[in-house]
Structures are given as C-alpha cells and as structure tokens.
Symmetry: C2
Subunit: 340 residues, 2 copies
Amino acid sequence: MSRRADQSATHARMQDVAKRASVSAMTVSRALRAPDQVSEKTRRRIARAVRDVGYVPNELAGGLRAFNRTKLVAAIVPSVRNSLFAATSHGMSDALRARGINLMLGDSHYSPDEEEDLVTAFLAQRPCGIVLHDVVRSPHARKLLLKSGIPVVEVGDLTRSPLDMVVSYSNYAAGKAMTRHLVERGYRRIGFASLATAITARSAARLKGYKAALREAALTIDPARIIEVEGGFASGGAALVKLVEAGADAVFFAGDVLAVGAALECQRRGWRVPGRVAIASFDDHEIAAQVSPALTALKIPRYEIGRRAAELILERHSGVKHRKPVVIDVGFEIIARDST
Amino acid sequence: MSRRADQSATHARMQDVAKRASVSAMTVSRALRAPDQVSEKTRRRIARAVRDVGYVPNELAGGLRAFNRTKLVAAIVPSVRNSLFAATSHGMSDALRARGINLMLGDSHYSPDEEEDLVTAFLAQRPCGIVLHDVVRSPHARKLLLKSGIPVVEVGDLTRSPLDMVVSYSNYAAGKAMTRHLVERGYRRIGFASLATAITARSAARLKGYKAALREAALTIDPARIIEVEGGFASGGAALVKLVEAGADAVFFAGDVLAVGAALECQRRGWRVPGRVAIASFDDHEIAAQVSPALTALKIPRYEIGRRAAELILERHSGVKHRKPVVIDVGFEIIARDST
DNA sequence: TTCCGGCATGTTATCGATAACATGAAATGT
DNA sequence: ACATTTCATGTTATCGATAACATGCCGGAA
C-alpha cells in the first residue's frame, strides 16, 4: 500500500492523474497549462482522468515552483462593512477573474497596528499584487511592501508620492469643489461634518479642501461649524442638528452615509431641505437619490478605481515597466440634485 | 555570486536569516513557530536577523510541507455589494484573525457556473476552510468539496442535509413568522416581494413560509400580490406601488433593501404607513430604524453567523470530531416598530 | 540514404519551509 | 561515577508541481 492510505480526505495529485492516463506527471502539467504542446489524443485521455479522480491543481506547489507567488491579489480595506469599499473590490474582482486571479480581503478596522499585521500576513501568502484602500502609515509595513517587489496600488487618496502606484480621485479637490458648489448656490455659513480626521487621512484632505474653498470665497472658517463624528445614519442626523444649532445654512457631509442620515433626520423634524438647511453628500450612494429631497452628491467612480487598480497589477505582471511613480487620477463629478 | 543576484525584488529566505544569525534554517523555523524550543539567546539573535533582512515567512512553502494547506479561509458570497454578507464576513474575519487566519473572498454573482469556477479556483489554493453563503447547486462542485476533506460551512439557509456543516437561521420559519405577525396585526391582503426565487433558494424558502402562514390563517393566496424584483432601493419603491395597486394592505419585503426603498417611495407620495399600507422588512439594516416610520423588521444575527462558522472550522482543525451533520440554528427575532 | 529539426513526451533538479530523525552537550538520578 | 534523560541544535528527506534539460520518433531536405 502506498503512503496514501487515507484516500478519503485528501486531494488527488498530479501523479495520480498521470498514472491513470498512462503518462508522466509533466505531460499532465502541460496538458493543463499549455495544451498546444500535447497531442490531441493524450490531452483527451488526461482530461478524462482529471475528471475521474476529481483532480484540482495544487496552486501551493505550482506557485512555489513557478514564480513563488499565488494567484491571489491581497486587498486591505479599513472596514468591510463599508459599501464604498465593496464597490471597489467588485471592480477589482471582475477585472481579475478573467485572468484566474482571486481576492484575499483584510479589514484593518482603521488601525495602523492591524494594518501592519495584515500586510505581514498577506505578504506571507505571496500574493501577486496588493491593493491598499488607505494610506499606509506604518513605516515598517512600507518597508516590507517596497522590498517585496510585489505590485502595490494605493486607492485611498491621490498622493503624489505613492509607495508604488496610486489610482484615485483627489479628496482635497473633491472637498473643495463641493464646497465651492455650495458657495455658488449662495450659502454663507457652510458646516462640515466628517469622520475623525486623525484616523482617516482622507477626511483630513477633504477638510483642507473645504477650508481652501471658503478662504477663496473670503468666507470665515468657523471651528464651531466643523465637527467630527462616527459613521452611520444616526450619527449624521445628530451632526446635522448640532450644526444647524451652530448657525449653519448648509452642511457638507464628507463621510460615509452621514448625509442620508441627516436627510432622514430633517424628514422626522419636518425641516425643509434646502430652506432650513441645505445638505451635500460626499458619496453618491444609491440611496442618496432616493430620499426626499434627492441629495446633491459627489460621484466617485469606485468600481472604475478597482478595475484600473487590477489592470495596473496585471500590466506589471505581463512585463510592462511603468515609469514610476504611477499616479492615475480618475476624477469625480458633482451630481446636483434638490438638496442644495 | 549566488543564484540570488537580483536581491532587490525578491523576498529574503529563511536560509538568509539563518546565515545572518549563524544558525541553521531549522532553528530559525523553530524560533518562529515554537519559540520555547529555542534558547533565549539564539532566539534574540534570530529575531534581530529577521528584522534586519525584513524576513516575511513564505506560507506557500511552509503550508505545502506542513499540511498542504494555507492559512486562508475561502468565502463565497452571491454578491460583495450586499452589506448583509459583509456583516457575516466581518464576524468570520474577527474570529479567524485571532488564529492568524485570513479571508479569501469570491463573488459568484448569483450564478451557479461562476460558483463552480470559484469553488475550483479556491480549492486549488488549498484553504483550511470554506464558507458558502448560499446553497451549492453544481453537483460537480459538491463532489469536489466533499472529496477535499476541507471543513465546509454553509450559511445561506438552515438545510437539514448540509454538505458538511451549516450555521444559519431558517428562511422558511422567518418568512412564516413575519407573515404571521402581519396577520396578527389585522392585515388581510398581505403582499410579498422578493428577489427572484429561481436564483436564490433563500427567497424561495421565504415565500414558502409566507404562504404557509397565510394558509394557517385561512387567508387566500393571491398570485397578483406576489412579485419578484431586482435588488435595490428604487426597485422596492416600484414593487410597493404595484402591490398597493393590486389591493395589498400590507407588504412583506423579503429581500435586500427593498423595504427601505418602499418606505422612501411612500414618503415621496405622501402615503401614510401604516394606514395606506403597512411595510415589513426582512433584514434589519441600520437604516430601517431611521426612516419614518421606523420599519418593523426581522433581526438576523449576521455577525454571529460568521463568528460561529469560523469557530466550527477552527474546532475541526483542532481535532474535534463533530457528530455529522452539524446543523446550528442561530434563530432570528422580530423587531416590531411603527410601520406595521 | 543520411542527417537535421521539430514535435511529443520523459527525467531530474528545484522552489522554501518543515517533519522526522540524528547528534552532542549539559543536567539529572542512583 | 556512570547511565539516562533533557535540551538545543543540525541533517536529510519531502510536500506537489514545474523549469530546464534530455530523449526518441517521424518527416522532409540534401
């Protein structure tokens, strides 16, 4: 009896397929990866043997020998619960599946420590690419990523000096553009609500854009009209109330689903939007167009970002030498609706 | 010069660390995985060498030799965009990270073909566990999963005969319970809207529950008051209008975010809820409590499901022999709010 | 006929880590 | 003091596939 007595709970090996098809393992390997190098007849025999034994290639072994890589792209998001990242992941996944590459997904919970752990854990799996949905703060993690030689794409914000490549819109420009939009509509006491700027660099960039637009319009920047809150619908409602009490005639919600929460709060209170207060949203969630009034929002091409990021990784793999650093600005768009 | 001339774009190997610390590779291996087998002094020397060269273990090689598995759990969801699956993934991820295990995520787009491809692709990576968010329809995929000997957890619906293990609530029982709730509140012409029952077995089970409850209450089942729609807010609104026109005095939305969309539609039209029509939601999204009126909904412990699924996989790995089949019912709860 | 070249297939070495076994020194027991 | 265990470490073989090289066969050019 062979060393493989415990047949039941084990995968068939290429060797098993080979024996069944009366060829060598190498021929099986070729039949699967380079069918044109194998004669029609043996190829058919092998295909049958593969099905008969239920053979599933071992990418662990194959990847190790062939390029010391798996056919997986690692993605690290600050929070899997956030549907924005889901859209980007979706774009990546679509672009990668065509090439037989799958996704490894990790959640850093907005923590630099967890981010560093994840980077290490993922690098250990030898992915063929890495996508980071936020700026990498840990210096050690940056060092490891650089050293790895693996294509890295950052998609959180449009930095000028990416680790390797970046695909994004500019949070600064977007924050500025939307604020300018509010100024143009005649609002003068514009409030700003976002997630904690200390933990997400994106929020900080948006805030800078907001301030720049106000300065440009010679409006005063009132700290009482700038607040940071947790994510979530309820939180948006609370923020709105606070800002209106601070005298805001419009509020720019630069985070998560805050704006929708604010709009719902207004409905409950019977506040007219605009009129009592205008509302602008950073992200164009499907629901932003459904509440009444429909919300003015920034449309960020999230899916597109994922797709382009994946394509960059694939290009790098097929030997394209990018002129570094690679910085791709996908832009954004303001969808003016009834809330401003 | 060694075969490793191209230092820049390559990972350091255990051998490199070993040389630097003047020990054998095996000692490095032990220092990392079983530190108590290595003396304090050499352990420190190795730790320093690891940092100096920026060594990241190669799980490809390690996994191959040690157990022919990676430290990854594969999860297949029908759609990554759906935040319900995000909650479950989150629960899994939290439970797994503590053991250094990460997540591989695939999106089947509700297609059995893609599901089969994904199962194959994931099995090829030799994950240490698999979680399926839907019933596996492809017989070939089922065969492969069984043969693999890898712990498999299904979390889509509470089937009596899982492939291996199942952690879920009963879609049938939930559909029945919510319908009964509506009956008890006095509604007699209860409509039902869900995603296509042909493509998601879950929807079909919910529909059966709905019908059973009506039969139990001796109410007629009117096909004109049962419709299938696409997911999304807008879609829910359209469904509501259609069902009200068909004479419904209450609608049970058994899918995605349909109920919220319906509530928003009522706001736009100025329809009183309840009064003109009552609305019940299958899932207790955060937003269901935020719209006015707040929606009656089923609370499904999504996070909990993910956590328990992960724990089952971990148990299996630490040698626990479950008495198969393993069926865990996590139950559900009806949160009665103002919409019914 | 002879020789060369392409085609289908086989053989061997290897990817990087680790299980299994081996070794030598220090510690312990009697 | 000697046998025996314990502990820290080293050596060798191996996981399963594939790169690199080798072989043998057949057909056409010379």
